[in-house]
Amino acid sequence: MNNKVPNNRAWLLVLPMLILVAFSAVIPLMTVVNYSVQDVLGPNARFFTGTEWFESILNNDGLRAAFFRQISFSLIILAIQIPLGIGIALIMPKRGWQASAVLILITLPLLIPWNVVGSIWQIFTRGDIGLMGWSLRELGINYNITRNAVDAWATIILMDVWHWTPLVAMLCYSGLRSIPEAYYQAARIDRASKWAVFRYIQLPKLTNVLVIAVLLRFMHSFMIYAEPFVLTGGGPGSSTTFLSQSLATMAIGQQDLGPSAAFSLIYFLVILLVSWVFYTTIMNMQKDKSPQGGA
């Protein structure tokens, strides 16, 4: 890593990728920026609006509520999925055919198209034909995700935990596999308890994958769209309407080009900012720890 050769011809290797990504990212992004500062009334009628759309988005109560819903959602699923994923990775079999079988089973939810995930849970939780909805009803619990906001929230969180914990578990599993056997052997000889092994061997070695896991889960949960859209349609009321759905409604449904473009940019920047702050904080924490003391 630290003995890379300076070579500007490497740009040639990067170029094809750059062209493609630029085509998919830069041009559309410029369109968005363009729309965000204009009012498009017709093919030849555009007005420069400055920051007007941005202000209206920031002052939109509905969107502000959706934003806080989004933050709460991401925090809740992170708080559940990270520990749960670590736990599952710890009890997964380490070798043999069981290891492969469990690995394949565990990754299953990750490979289901997101709207199908929504459909699966929509069916599963229905009171008339779904196993979970029916069972809860039989137990005398008044469970209805189309009427009760708490039920809807709980179901979406359960669905997301079902859907994405496997990713965290898989990352942690690969992190655990990379710990050499000698560490466990030394710990046994040092008479370390199970907890000490976790605290001083496994957890430190998992730091890197956990950073990736938290980042990916934060990003994806912050962009969640298809699953709640299919499951609850954002309801009841707007209790499970998250940012992506608000944006899609605004851009495609209502064709509000200007405000939705401004919304897009703010949305994007928030994700970038949070990810960047999280990442640099972690990296600085690790750096602070390292050059301590010095003989």
Partner: protein
């Protein structure tokens, strides 16, 4: 104290071993005495590490017993044996300081903190780790890390044996020597049994009083470095110890002569009788060999009654001596020539030192009765 006895020990990684090849360790008996400095020497894959892990309790042997002072400890896990082990790659607890690393085994045993501190300081002093105590273990160099791993074994009062599994593999050559001396010093200071696994004969002979040479899952010889050199009990020991290793010749006894192929060998009468009486386990293809170390072959340009003409291939100058490669009966031999040896012609004459020729039947040494 702790005398480690291996009784009828065998180990296989297979669930149902079918033949000798399935065994990592084959039937062996061995005793390690308290306080000895031992080396376990052998090529990779000969079962050294397996044996070490069985002694420390990381592995349970499939057959036979491990006894500590006569107690059977087969089922005891490492945490209940009085043993420490240092691994090939240094194992340290990254997030802890050096002090905490050294204190770790003590704290795991609920040792009160006022006992922990003096003990850690004492061990750190011996290992010259005192200036590093407050540092994060993660940022140490490889040799410092290895010293920390060793220190974790030394802090425990109950440790009676430390096992080393090729501990110097990742250490720089110039530090290896220093660390090895440190080990020796620790051994002399504490009355601890040390078993040192290595594939390097130099490392083994500088560290250990006695060396056990392992080959294909068995200890083929257990002796001082000198014994291993002078009377290898097995052809493998002859080949593995010394540089270069022993020369071997497959021989048979015909018409009162010891024949190496078509070449009659001028050997002592005793040896002739011994070869004539040799009974190999396989009668159809008897496995009888003579071995001679390169050090005990003398080469001259003129023949005498006890020498054989050989074909000189090459002479390599290695500073204090030269190494001669020659051919006898189409087989390559090595011989050591003293400094200032006269240049050799294409055909020279080799003479084996009678007393140093060893007889091997089925790969094992048979004393031919010379003093």
């Amino acid at each position: 104290m702790a005398e480690i006895t291996l009784k009828g020990l065998a180990h296989s990684y297979e669930k149902a071993p079918s033949g000798a090849a399935d065994y990592a360790i084959r039937q062996m008996n061995h005793v390690w005495h308290q306080g000895g400095a031992y080396a376990l020497l052998g090529p990779s894959g000969c079962g050294k590490s397996t044996l070490l892990n069985i002694i420390s309790g990381l592995l349970e042997p499939s057959e036979g017993d491990v006894l500590f002072d006569g107690h059977r400890v087969n089922e005891l896990p490492p945490e209940e044996r009085n043993i420490a082990q240092v691994f090939q790659f240094p194992v340290i607890y990254d997030t802890m300081t050096v002090f905490d690393n050294l204190a770790f085994p003590l704290r795991n045993m609920n040792t009160p903190e006022y006992r922990v501190k003096p003990k850690v300081l004492e061990v750190a002093d011996i290992l010259e780790l005192t200036p590093l105590l407050k540092r994060k273990a993660k940022n140490l160099t490889a040799d410092e890390k290895q010293k920390v791993s060793m220190g974790r074994g030394l802090v425990r009062d109950d440790v009676t044996a430390i096992l080393f599994d090729e501990p110097l593999t990742v250490i720089d050559p110039q530090l290896k020597w220093k660390l090895r001396r440190k080990l020796k010093e620790i051994h002399e200071r504490f009355n601890i049994t040390m078993i040192y696994v290595t594939h390097d004969q130099l490392e083994a002979s500088t560290f250990a009083d006695k060396i056990a040479v392992m080959y294909e899952g068995q200890v083929v010889q257990f002796g001082t470095p000198r014994e291993l050199f002078e009377r290898p009990a097995h052809t493998f020991v002859g080949y593995f110890i010394g540089s270069p290793g022993m020369n071997f010749m497959a021989v048979e006894h015909t018409d009162g002569q010891v024949m190496f192929g078509a070449q009659p060998l001028p050997v002592s009468e005793k040896l002739k009788i011994a070869v004539a009486n040799a009974r190999s386990s396989d009668v159809s293809a008897p496995n009888i060999k003579l071995g001679i170390r390169p050090e005990f072959i003398s080469i001259t340009n003129t023949p005498d009654s006890h020498s054989m003409p050989v074909q000189v291939i090459s002479v390599q100058d290695l500073g204090t001596y030269s190494l001669l490669t020659f051919k006898l009966n189409e087989q390559t031999f090595k011989a050591r020539l003293p400094e200032g040896h006269p240049p050799l012609k294409e055909t020279a004459f080799a003479r084996f030192d009678d007393a140093k020729v060893a007889l091997y039947i089925d790969e094992y040494l048979v004393e031919a009765g010379h003093e």
